[in-house]
């Protein structure tokens, strides 16, 4: 038993040593932030007006908040991507809005409310908790309880069957004795 323990601990140590230690914020200076656009191409096409992270956010906390928010918001044009991943121009505009609002000190909830006010709940990938979504959020938990109930009932029925088997075996003797009897009677 000691050998497997040693091996696994060694493996864990190796894993730890090989992980890339998170780098500091040692990025080479990015160029000027605000994307200057000439005549924008049609919104909804692939032209992005600039990097998702335009660089106006200073602190890592702000950038982390921005990324978290952008990952939870839905792009309304390419509707199967997050706001963070979409190349659509409207997505770039909205990302810029989010950055500006973070800088202005708004909370995550306020920023989400800003977007929901304009685009509805569709823009949130995390469905809000309201009366129409109770079933959605509580459903899995309810299903788990239901599953547990099913497991319990099948268990009980099965244990009852097992007890009946055991009772019958006790009455008729073991299988070996039954076999002997049957053969003897033949």
């Amino acid at each position: 038993m000691r050998t497997p323990l040693a091996i696994i601990s060694l493996a864990a140590a190796l894993l730890g040593a090989s992980l890339p230690w998170p780098a500091g914020a040692a990025d080479a200076p990015a160029a000027a932030s605000a994307p200057a656009t000439a005549a924008p191409a049609s919104p909804g096409a692939t032209a992005a007006t600039g990097p998702t992270d335009t660089g106006i956010l200073g602190s890592p906390e702000q950038r982390a908040r921005y990324h978290r928010l952008a990952e939870e918001l839905r792009c309304l044009v390419c509707q199967n991507q997050t706001l963070a991943d979409s190349n659509a121009e409207l997505a770039a505009d909205l990302r810029h809005q989010v950055e500006n609002q973070i800088l202005a000190g708004r909370s995550d909830d306020e920023i989400k409310a800003y977007l929901v006010q304009r685009y509805g709940d569709f823009v949130l990938y995390r469905p809000p908790m309201k009366s129409s979504t109770w079933l959605l959020w509580l459903g899995p938990f309810a299903l788990l309880l239901l599953g547990g109930l099913v497991w319990w009932r099948v268990q009980r029925r099965s244990r009852a069957a097992q007890a009946a088997d055991a009772a019958r075996a006790a009455a008729e003797g073991s299988d070996l004795e039954r076999a002997r009897r049957l053969l003897g009677e033949q």
């Binding site: 038993m1 497997p4 323990l5 696994i8 601990s9 493996a11 864990a12 894993l15 730890g16 090989s18 890339p20 230690w21 998170p22 780098a23 040692a26 990025d27 080479a28 160029a31 692939t46 032209a47 992005a48 600039g50 990097p51 998702t52 992270d53 939870e72 839905r74 509707q79 199967n80 997050t82 991943d85 190349n87 509805g120 709940d121 569709f122 949130l124 990938y125 995390r126 469905p127 129409s132 979504t133 079933l135 959605l136 959020w137 459903g139 899995p140 299903l143 788990l144 239901l146 599953g147 497991w151 029925r157 099965s158 244990r159 009852a160 069957a161 097992q162 007890a163 009946a164 088997d165």
Partner: protein, 665 residues
């Protein structure tokens, strides 16, 4: 000519499949000499069906290879400058073509079942093949009436519109065939269940026969989903590998049920219990495959995956769904009460653990189904439009799966019928201790305590440690020493199981580590600029225009070094590309990835800003390849288990002949 021949082959196949669907089933109900004659139709009909499907598919492939633009499908999905291997792949790169691929694989599996089922009672065999024939008939009707791949285009254009650039890629070429092998394989278990319900018999032979087919289907489904995820990772350019997109869910739900089914079948085979469960899981598994087909092609849900949608097709598939799924579930409601329960088992036993496994996987599937369909439900009821995305699914799925992961360690070690809890605890307490301690220590060793990381790692290490304990006990002889010669003592199904579970551990470790420790930036980079990410130094050294057979674009050249390596030789050169495909005008990102078992360095180009600057996405993803490696290990384990001698008739007969007396077993 070829197109008309292909269409004729399909029409003939429809006739054969209808005959296959109706005659043997009727014969099984009739009995007697006439009944036997009707049932004898099954085998030749199934093989004819397979031959006709192969013919039709081969003809369509020939049309694509020859670039016959008078056929509408070729004109929309091929191009004179499309390389040969992609012209072949374009055969299934469209709705109609992929449906024909479905039919091909379904027909071939039906033929295979016909060939390999001679040891089954004739009545059961006839019913199974009839059910599969009916399913094939439904798909063939769908093809011929709403999605004919052989439709002509008049007048024929001089060049085609080209295959969707997203599909011009090896991963995408193999993803549909693997997935369909899985879906169609589930139809075998489905047909088995329907046949069993009609006949009323569910003995151990029934389960033993269905098991390898279902396991193989599960393996293909695993590989198909893994390949889809792998492809999305390197092709879509944003470094993600699972998005809980409706169509991803549509393939994942059958997988969850197929996993439960594979486990449930083992109980039914070994102990004769769980019969209703197994039957129901088989029906639901295939139903989910059909539901997935519906979701992708009907336009009911938005998805990056959706084919050109057409509500008329949606209506047809829905009607088909109602007939097949509704019909089989009605049959279940009617006949299942008579199936009976079989021998009992104790509260702590392998059966009860596998029952919990069944329940957890089913609940997880139901949760995914709920999240996928909920926007549709609310919209239909006029309650507005919402989105249900990764935040929901992640929040719901992981807690549901966690108990199953924990049980995965214990299950294989628990005895059938009645397991001794103290014995299990004694055997596993070290495994438990090691996994908890290592899981806690690891994040602390890097950058501090992370509860979620530790939890994920704990499960991965727990499963792996339990496998180690089990394998060690399997290799331990009577003298207490480990010996590799004892490998042959245990059946392949046991080794396959442990290997597959180890694959799960690798998968969980990969997901946990990459989610916890990945780093990335998207930013504007000029040629000559360098950035540091995740412990790596990335230097943008050059830009060059490129030309391909059917695309033009730009390639960026980057040097990768370890952070702080200064000007030492780079450990890798990466060249991501941004392409525009000429025929369609569609832009495509080709990410460049430096892969290794321990991490990926991932670069992709976004958009150009001026002459010398581009938006670049750079990621470092530790252990991301463990995700797909884990899936491959799972599939290998499954194949090994399915190859167990017990399932192979010839092997059985050989073994029987070796017995004294030479009597068949």
């Amino acid at each position: 000519m070829i197109a008309e021949l292909g269409q004729f082959a399909l029409a003939l196949a429809l006739a054969v499949s209808l005959a296959l669907g109706i005659l043997p089933m009727t014969g099984a109900a009739m009995g007697g000499a006439t009944g036997a004659r009707l049932m004898a139709v099954a085998r030749p009909a199934a093989m004819t069906l397979a031959a006709l499907a192969i013919l039709a598919f081969g003809l369509l492939t020939a049309l694509f290879v020859g670039n016959d633009f008078s056929v509408g499908l070729v004109a929309s999905h091929s191009n004179l400058s499309l390389p040969l291997h992609y012209r072949i792949a374009a055969t299934w790169g469209s709705h109609e073509g992929s449906m024909l691929l479905w039919v091909l694989i379904l027909s071939c599996w039906t033929g295979a079942v016909a060939v390999f089922s001679t040891s089954l009672p004739l009545v059961l065999r006839a019913r199974i093949l009839s059910t599969m024939g009916l399913v094939a008939a439904g798909f063939l009707m769908f093809l011929l009436f709403t999605s004919n791949p052989f439709d002509r285009l008049v007048p024929p254009p001089s060049d085609g519109r080209d295959l969707n650039p997203l599909l011009q890629d090896a991963g995408m070429v193999f993803h549909p065939p693997l997935l369909y092998m899985g879906y169609v394989g589930l139809s075998v278990a489905f047909a088995f269940s329907v046949a069993g319900l009609i006949g009323g018999r569910f003995d151990a032979a029934w389960a033993r026969w269905a098991r390898p087919w279902t396991t193989v289907a599960w393996c293909f489904l695993t590989l198909g989903i893994a390949l889809g995820s792998f492809w999305a990772y390197y092709e879509l350019g944003w470094g993600g590998w699972w998005f809980w997109d409706p169509v991803e869910n549509a393939s994942f739900m059958p997988w969850l049920i197929a996993t439960a089914l594979v486990h449930s079948l083992s109980v039914t085979e070994k102990r004769g219990t769980f019969r209703s469960w197994t039957v129901l899981l088989a029906i639901i598994g295939f139903s989910l495959s059909l539901l997935g087909t519906f979701l992708v092609r009907s336009g009911v849900l938005t998805s990056v995956h959706a084919f050109a949608t057409d509500p008329a097709r949606g209506v047809f598939i829905l009607a088909f769904l109602a007939f097949v799924v509704g019909g089989s579930l009605l049959l279940f409601a009617w006949r299942a009460p008579a199936i009976g329960n079989g021998p009992g088992f104790a509260a702590v036993s392998r059966e009860s653990l596998l029952l919990a496994n069944n329940v957890l996987l089913s609940v997880a599937m139901a949760a995914v189904l709920l999240g996928t369909l909920y926007p549709l439900v609310l919209d239909t009821l006029g309650l507005g439009k919402i989105s249900v995305g990764p935040p929901y699914f992640d929040a719901v799925f992981y807690p549901l799966m966690a108990p199953a992961l924990f049980l995965m360690g214990i299950g294989p070690l628990a005895r059938w019928k009645k397991a001794e809890l103290p014995e299990l605890v004694a055997r596993l307490r070290w495994a438990f201790a090691v996994s908890v301690i290592a899981a806690l220590l690891l994040p602390l060793a890097t950058d501090g305590f992370r509860p979620m990381t530790s939890l994920g790692l704990m499960f991965a290490l727990w499963i792996a440690a339990c496998v180690v304990v089990a394998v060690r006990d399997m290799l331990r002889g009577a003298d207490g020493r480990l010996s590799l010669r004892r490998i042959g003592v245990h059946p392949a199904s046991a080794w396959g199981m442990h290997f597959a579970h180890l694959g799960v551990a690798v998968f969980v470790a990969g997901v946990t580590l990459v989610t916890s420790y990945e780093s990335g930036r998207e930013l504007r980079m000029e040629v000559g600029q360098r950035i540091e990410i995740g412990g790596y130094d990335i230097r943008f050294v050059g830009l060059a225009p490129i030309t391909g057979p059917n695309y033009d674009g730009t390639r960026g050249v980057f040097e990768i070094r370890r952070a702080g390596a200064g000007d030492a030789a780079p450990i890798a050169m990466l060249s991501p590309e941004k392409r525009v495909y000429r025929a369609s005008g569609m832009p495509m990102t080709e990410a460049a990835i430096d892969r290794s078992l321990l991490r990926d360095v991932y670069l992709s180009m976004g958009e150009p800003i001026g002459e010398r600057a581009w938006v670049v996405r750079a990621h470092v993803k530790p252990f991301v390849n463990w995700i797909w490696l884990g899936c491959v290990l799972m599939a290998i384990g499954g194949f090994v288990a399915a190859a167990d001698r017990r399932y192979r008739r010839r092997a059985l007969e050989r073994a029987a002949r070796a017995l004294p007396g030479g009597q068949p077993a």
